[in-house]
């Protein structure tokens, strides 16, 4: 039994944490949060120097040549720091979509930029209020031109390219678009987490290219979402663990009635429940990382497990960490709400926990996973 990361991988994780503790304090996140800056450009460049954007990419395209286990651990640290960088849309989504579609020309053109961070990618899914995908897609690709409107596109205001979920000949397909090209109008909109910029993007006959084969588009999108869900779950896991750590620290130092509030069962049992949620999420995330790194046929089930438990753990820990803080937790000045906002934003991406639960049951019906 070897169900854990290796010493080398843990050293990489430690180095990632050290880098983020030096370059991405909560004060720094707050600077982006409170400013009009769409993301932390310096951190993004620093991350690229660390090789993060290309962690799972081969060296031939400028990647670091690690693998998904390493990328997962970086994601956990990015989540722990609630870094204000377009890591999820660019690395887990756009890059993965290109890798899966496996178009040599496209990859040669874009992967080096994605690996170096010079090119920011994103993923454009939602068009309106409600569940996204499937019958709710109206954005259409026709004769190499994309027309439609996407909303809530993460970092859509600064991304260079987007993988857009669109319809072509009645099928749902992923489409690659350069956002700096013709036929594109985009504007930032107010995000629930101002450290994660979001945009509305209008396509008016924008030049675009389908990724993969027509018939396989839906499957490709599902694969991308599954893989991204696992990596995003690691970000959520890191954030949830941080909420727990902050909650413990505060509860130890804050006194009421002459003793630390951590000594009251109401608080200590809450922290025990937070710990339990984090540990279950951690174990399920590890399973996701294993499935991702081995390209296991269990990946679709593993993605559900990781995503559901990490989404729920993060939201629960963010809410209850604030609750432990009491009145000061409700102030803008304290950091509790940075996590709360991130939890809800990430919970809304790529389908909610509720959506993944239904997917899990559907998948179990046809899966051999015990």
């Amino acid at each position: 039994m070897n169900f854990d990361f290796s010493e080398e991988q843990k050293l990489l994780q430690k180095a990632s944490r050290d880098f983020l503790e030096a370059n991405c304090t909560l004060a720094r996140v707050r600077e982006i949060f409170e400013s009009d800056l769409p993301y932390d450009e310096a951190l993004w460049k620093g991350a690229a120097e660390m090789g993060w954007q290309g962690a799972a990419l081969p060296e031939s395209v400028g990647g670091a040549g690690f693998g998904y286990l390493e990328l997962a651990l970086v994601a956990e640290e990015v989540g722990r720091a609630i870094a204000a960088i377009p890591f999820a849309p660019s690395v887990y989504l756009a890059t993965e979509a290109l890798l899966l579609a496996d178009d040599a020309a496209i990859n040669a053109r874009y992967l080096p930029g994605l690996a170096s961070g010079d090119c920011i990618g994103t993923f454009a899914l939602a068009e309106r209020v409600g569940q996204s995908g499937g019958s709710n897609v109206e954005t259409a690709l026709s004769r190499g031109k994309l027309t439609g409107r996407k909303v809530a596109v993460p970092y859509g205001d600064v991304a260079d390219i987007a993988v857009v979920v669109a319809k072509q000949q009645g099928k749902v397909v992923p489409v690659l678009v350069e956002l700096t090209g013709a036929g594109i109008k985009r504007h930032a909109v107010e995000s629930f987490d101002p450290a994660v910029s979001q945009a509305t993007i209008e396509f008016e006959a924008a030049p675009a290219k389908r990724l993969g084969k027509l018939a396989e588009g839906q499957g490709l999108i599902e694969d991308v979402r599954d893989r991204a869900a696992i990596l995003l779950a690691f970000e959520q896991l890191g954030s949830a663990q941080r909420c727990l750590d902050i909650g413990i620290e505060f509860a130890r130092q804050r006194y009421a009635f002459g003793r630390p509030i951590a000594s009251f069962q109401a608080i200590k049992h809450k922290l025990a429940d937070m710990f339990t949620a984090v540990e279950l999420a951690r174990s399920n995330c590890y399973y996701g990382a294993w499935a991702l790194s081995t390209n296991s046929e269990e990946l679709p089930v593993a993605a559900c497990l990781a995503r559901i438990s990490a989404s729920e753990a993060f939201q629960f820990c963010a809410e209850e960490n604030l609750q432990i803080h009491g009145g000061v937790g409700f102030t803008w000045e304290y950091d509790c709400h940075l996590f709360l906002r991130r939890a809800m934003l990430q919970g809304s991406m790529l389908g909610t926990a509720r959506d993944w639960k239904r997917a899990l049951i559907r998948r179990l019906a046809t899966s051999s996973v015990e």
Binding site: L125, A126, R128, V129, G130, Q131, S132, G134, S135, N136, V151, A152, V189, E190, S191, F192, D193, Q198, T200, R252, Q253, R254, Y255, A256, F257, G258, R259, P260, F264, A266, I267, Q315, E319, L322, Q323, G326, G327, V328, G329, F330, T331, W332, E333, C336, H337, L340, M344, L345, Q346, G347, S348, M349, G351, T352, R354, R358
Partner: protein
């Protein structure tokens, strides 16, 4: 068993309506009264004062106060009826709740006749607005753990320290404040209760920005502020007993419309009916139906619990213990409902943009207000303690801070 007024109540209601009809306009459909937390511009304050004076002249300003103090001498149920009827009219926000509901009853119980004469009439007419200065940053749930000091200096007391979560501090005229006058005695024994002039030197207000972005409360700093001894309400060292009088009168209101978002159960039902889940309207989905039913059951349960309390008032009895569950249930439910509403919106749930979201981002705002509701006026945890100890009479936990000198209590 019915929901109707008794004959006496009906007569009172008719009288109230008759006066209101002559003196105010009914709200338009959908119009809400802003809470005092939401509008505090000079025009609103002036309008609020004018309306309060008008009510006072006609005997509607403080229904339950004894006549000798300028009140109507009415019953609690009459006060509720008045509130129901006034709530149907487009009147200015009520900025006098802390004065009339908390400071006034305290002064009636504990102040000297001279003090009462100085403050109560202007309080009733809304000529002077009052705020409360109890909470402190380091105290939180442990309310008596306060450190703002008052030191005697001739005929004055010199006050230093910081208060927090004071609503309206910047426009108020007077505040009720509890200070520590002797840290060498046990926690509850060294407190003294004053009225402070909010405009006096050494009193400074700073708004507190909440996580929701607004700033509906203040921090108040005392920096060698002087309070004349004539404004002392309690005996020196007996402030806790007076503070208890104030707190017993505290309403468990988190402030009118100030719950954020202004959305409710029916809005959530509409949202669930308009968005799809797995190809059908979400409201046809079993999980959504069960969640919605849970909220409705809790909401109606609270409403009928409140009806039971009103019935006790109507019968001239003390309401039963059910009232203490209201905030505990409502605050958590509000958080859950807002989270569900955001979820139903899919990716758009992660926006605050009022154009793209449902209900003009009302649910996102509600979600950011909900944590405050779970904390203000007693956290969920404190509310459970209160239910357990005061309602169910369960034994308290061992206390290590009660019998030692305040300054000896561990503070971490």
């Amino acid at each position: 068993m019915d929901f109707d007024d008794t004959p006496d109540e009906a007569a009172f209601r008719a009288e109230a309506v008759s006066w209101l009809e002559k003196n105010a306009e009914l709200k338009k459909p959908g119009e809400k009264t802003a809470g005092g937390l939401e509008r505090d511009d000079p025009d609103t304050i002036a309008a609020a004062k004018a309306w309060q004076a008008r009510k006072a002249d006609a005997g509607w300003a403080c229904i339950t106060w004894p006549k000798e103090y300028g009140g109507r001498g009415g019953t609690s149920i009459q006060n509720v009826i008045w509130g129901q009827e006034e709530g149907r009219y487009a009147v200015p926000p009520n900025m006098f709740m802390i004065g009339l509901g908390m400071a006034g009853p305290t002064l009636m119980a504990h102040a000297t006749p001279e003090q009462q004469k100085r403050w109560l009439p202007k309080m009733i007419r809304g000529e002077e607005i009052w705020c409360q200065l109890f909470s402190e940053p380091a105290a939180g749930s442990d309310l008596a753990n306060l450190r703002t000091s008052a030191v005697r200096d001739g005929d004055d007391w010199i006050v230093n320290g910081q208060k927090i979560w004071t609503s309206g501090a910047h426009y108020c005229d007077w505040g009720i404040v509890v200070t520590r006058t002797d840290p060498a005695v046990r926690k509850h024994a060294g407190l003294t209760y004053f009225v402070v002039d909010m405009k006096s030197p050494g009193v400074a207000c700073r708004p507190i920005k909440q996580i929701s972005g607004g700033a509906n409360f203040n921090e108040v700093f005392f920096n060698d502020a002087r309070i004349p001894d004539t404004q002392r309400i309690s005996e020196v060292g007996n402030g806790w007993a007076v503070a208890i009088t104030t707190l017993m009168n505290e309403r468990s209101s988190i402030g009118g419309g100030g719950v954020g978002g202004g959305v409710g159960f029916r809005d959530l039902l509409d949202l669930a009916s308009s968005v799809e889940l797995d190809g059908r309207p979400a409201i046809e989905d079993g999980a959504i139906q069960e969640k919605m039913a849970d909220y409705y059951v809790r909401q109606k349960g609270l409403q009928f619990t409140s009806n039971r309390a009103l019935t006790a008032l109507s019968r001239g009895e003390t309401p039963g213990p059910g009232g203490s569950i209201g905030k505990l249930v409502a605050a958590k439910m509000r958080q859950e409902m807002a989270a569900l509403a955001m979820e139903l919106q899919g990716e758009v749930g992660g926006l605050l943009d009022t154009q793209l979201t449902a209900d003009e981002a009302g649910w996102q705002q509600a979600y950011l207000w909900a944590p405050g509701m779970r904390i203000a006026g007693g956290t969920d945890e404190i509310m459970r303690n209160i239910i357990a100890e005061r309602v169910l009479r369960l034994p308290p936990e061992p206390r290590i801070d009660k019998e030692v000198a305040f300054r000896e209590i561990p503070t971490g």
